[in-house]
């Protein structure tokens, strides 16, 4: 791998991890969505760069999906939804930012320790990508567990999914990447439509998922 090509891939994949950290401490919904859009842009650049250096034109489609669908359509739709639902207040996180960031750092350390050790045979760039991808995935999970708001959880899930796309494109020559990214986009569209169609607010007067807990069947 040439120096510059590798450096740029490294920069973009590492950038994705950093933006995941930014997602972790956003406490306003609009800001969260904006940072998520940025996350998707970085992903799309990273996938595009992989398409270029691997000479794999089909990956440009994945990059385009990431750019159009995840960086523009989904944030705009969610933005409008938040306005319509009237929930543009602050979102509370379950714990305070400091400990969450520390846990996040721990998770990144964990994924580096796991992935770099088991991928000694793979090419350097694939190793880095996988390690970063696992970090993004775990950080996405952390975002999901620290949010009580349905929109916040969805953003966490979407950032987690970006990590998977990064891993799939980093695995050189992997087939079905485009199909998988389309399948994931369908999944996300479903979730977003789900929030709206199910009208969580209309039913519960809030999108705070703590309200959902009240309806646990065994406590009726």
């Amino acid at each position: 791998m040439h120096g510059l090509a590798f450096d740029i891939a490294h920069l973009l994949a590492g950038g994705l991890v950093l933006v995941s950290f930014m997602l972790l401490y956003q406490d306003r919904l609009y800001a969260l969505l904006n940072v998520y859009a940025f996350h998707a842009v970085v992903l799309s650049l990273s996938v595009g760069w992989q398409a270029y250096i691997q000479d794999a034109p089909h990956l440009y489609i994945t990059a385009l999906i990431a750019l159009v669908f995840k960086a523009i359509v989904i944030p705009v739709v969610l933005h409008r939804m938040i306005v319509q639902l009237g929930i543009h207040r602050e979102i509370e996180t379950v714990t305070s930012i400091g400990p969450v960031m520390l846990v996040g750092i721990g998770l990144v350390g964990l994924s580096m320790a796991v992935m770099l050790r088991v991928t000694t045979d793979a090419s350097l760039i694939a190793r880095e990508d996988l390690a970063f991808a696992l970090s993004v995935l775990l950080l996405g999970l952390l975002i999901m567990v620290t949010r009580r708001n349905a929109v916040g959880q969805v953003v966490g899930f979407m950032s987690l999914e970006n990590g998977l796309v990064l891993a799939a494109t980093g695995a050189k020559g992997m087939p079905l990447v485009v199909e998988i990214s389309v399948a994931f986009s369908v999944l996300i569209a479903f979730i977003v439509i789900g929030i709206f169609l199910f009208r969580i607010r209309e039913r519960f007067d809030t999108v705070d998922i703590r309200a959902l807990d009240r309806f646990r069947g065994d406590r009726r």
Binding site: V114, M115, R117, V118, T119, T120, D121, A122, A126, L130, A133, L134, L137, L141, M144, A150, Q153, F157, L160, E161, L164, A167, A168, A171, K172, G173, M174, P175, L176, E179, I180, A183, V186, L187, F190, I191, G194, F198, I200, R203, F204, I209, L212, D213, R214, F215, R216, G217, D218, R220
Partner: protein, 481 residues
């Protein structure tokens, strides 16, 4: 059987075409019948796989293992569609569902069947993942179809947990590809299961180990293994009962099938960790956890959902122990559990409709008010609790005795779980079946044929297993290693 129209394409094409058709056709009677017809045709197409083995290609694979799953899947799919026709008719009368929702429901039913069949037939681990995701999405929508508070919560929880599970499974799939790539080369070959299993000995074991952990966690969430089971009772309790029947009887099996495929991959690589202990531990935890949780249920569908967790635990335990006998018993247990549990849900569906409640405390005296339903439920619970002479007794006996021969301590723990669960089920069924009848005593227009067909099969299997079936299962048990 040659050319395009072979069993494989039919098993996929019929549900796909039916889904498209049902999506546009109005009228509940017509669509319910069409749903039944399509499910029957799919089942017949699946049976044709026994006689004509279509050739394996990069996308589709038919071997002795997945034929068992496909036939079971399409059979229960068919009987559930028969049950669904009468169940949904009642829901329409009581106004819980509107005709527009029903059209959607029938289309989604076929989409789900398509997804599950595709997952079972797929020879490509990426395709299998996409198919399981599709089947999951279809069931999520159906779980939430009543749009009550509880249904929405159940659907949302199922959605989020299943999505995270699916994400883990995909990461595991990517890692398997990474492990295969140096040995097999880039491209489609490195995701084709038959190629992978033939050349897995040359893969990097460390990467394979990590991959299996992710796959086990991911697909294990969908199997409903404790502590990843949280979605399962809610989804079973709040969705329409036909969906509870297919969730327990089929979708859990499909996820289990994915785990078995990857287990075969792991055992074929001499340096990778043995997946057995991981599966045995997860299975045992699920059995013990679910057995104790059975006592605290207040909702009849939740009760049987926890019983599904227990049984999936037993099955995963059996496959984790491995060896010809335990694998054989695991396969038998899986088949019997699918048949029995869906029969129980058929009965429970009618009971809940006629009594107008799912609360355990409000259902009693069924054998007096509705003798047919009451006794079917008693028979079903006796079967699921593992009493002789029904099929589950035989498979559980085989699992316990083969475990005693190898790991007596594990067998003791397993038997403890089985006994605790047995006690809970017996306690509850007494309340349901006997005593003063509560609620409505109106006669019910139930469809008994699917219930009795399932229970008769379970009874027959307990009394006599045809040698052909035994030979088939033994061969599959050998394959599983």
């Amino acid at each position: 059987m040659s050319g395009i129209l072979n069993g494989v394409t039919l098993v996929l094409a019929i549900p796909a075409a039916a889904a498209a058709l049902l999506g546009v056709l109005p009228g509940y009677r017509l669509s319910a019948r069409l749903n039944m017809l399509a499910s029957l045709l799919t089942f017949l197409a699946a049976l044709s796989l026994f006689v004509a083995h279509p050739t394996v290609n990069a996308y589709f694979l038919i071997d002795d293992l997945n034929i068992v799953f496909i036939v079971l899947n399409t059979f229960v799919g068919f009987t559930t569609s028969v049950f669904s026709a009468s169940y949904i008719g009642h829901e329409l009368e009581t106004g819980r569902l509107t005709p527009a929702y029903l059209r959607f429901y029938h289309a989604m039913y076929q989409v789900m069947m398509f997804g599950m069949n595709l997952a079972l037939i797929a020879n490509n681990i990426g395709l299998m993942w996409v198919a399981i995701e599709l089947a999951t999405l279809a069931t999520v929508v159906m779980v939430g179809i009543y749009r009550t508070h509880e249904a929405l919560e159940a659907a949302w929880k199922y959605f989020i947990l299943a999505s995270v599970g699916i994400a883990f499974a995909l990461f595991g799939t990517i890692l398997v590809y990474m492990a295969a790539q140096p040995a097999v080369g880039e491209g489609l070959q490195a995701m084709t299961w038959t190629v992978l299993v033939a050349r897995v000995a040359g893969f990097d074991p460390a990467l394979l180990n990590v991959a299996f952990v992710f796959l086990f966690l991911g697909y294990g969430t969908k199997v409903g293994l404790a502590p990843l089971h949280a979605w399962l009772p809610d989804a079973h309790a709040e969705g329409p009962t036909p969906i509870s029947a297919v969730l327990s009887g089929l979708l859990l099996n499909v996820a289990l099938y994915a785990i078995l495929r990857f287990k075969m991959l792991m055992t074929a690589n001499p340096l990778a960790i043995a997946p057995g202990p991981l599966m045995v531990t997860a299975g045992l935890i699920s059995v013990l956890f679910a057995a104790f949780m059975l006592y605290r249920r207040r909702d009849i569908k939740r009760l049987f959902a926890y019983s599904s967790i227990e049984h999936m635990g037993i099955i995963v335990f059996a496959f984790g122990m491995g060896g010809p006998l335990a694998n054989f018993a695991g396969l038998l247990q899986m088949t019997m559990h699918s048949l029995t549990k869906s029969a129980i849900f058929f009965t429970v569906g009618h009971v809940a409709q006629v009594k107008g409640t799912q609360r355990i405390s409000e259902i009693s005296g069924l054998t007096e008010s509705h003798p047919m339903l009451g006794w079917s439920l008693v028979l079903g619970v006796i079967a699921i609790a593992g009493l002789p002479p029904l099929g589950i007794f035989m498979s559980e006996f085989l699992i316990v005795s083969s475990t005693f021969a190898r790991e007596p301590l594990l067998a003791v723990a397993l038997v403890l779980g089985l006994l605790v669960a047995f006690g809970a089920l017996m306690l509850r069924v007494q309340g349901f079946a006997f005593g003063e009848p509560t609620g409505s005593t109106q006669p019910v227009r139930a469809s008994y044929v699917p219930i009795f067909a399932h229970l008769a099969l379970v009874l027959a299997a307990g009394l006599y297993l045809p040698p052909l079936l035994v030979a088939w299962f033994q061969h599959v048990a050998q394959m599983l290693g």
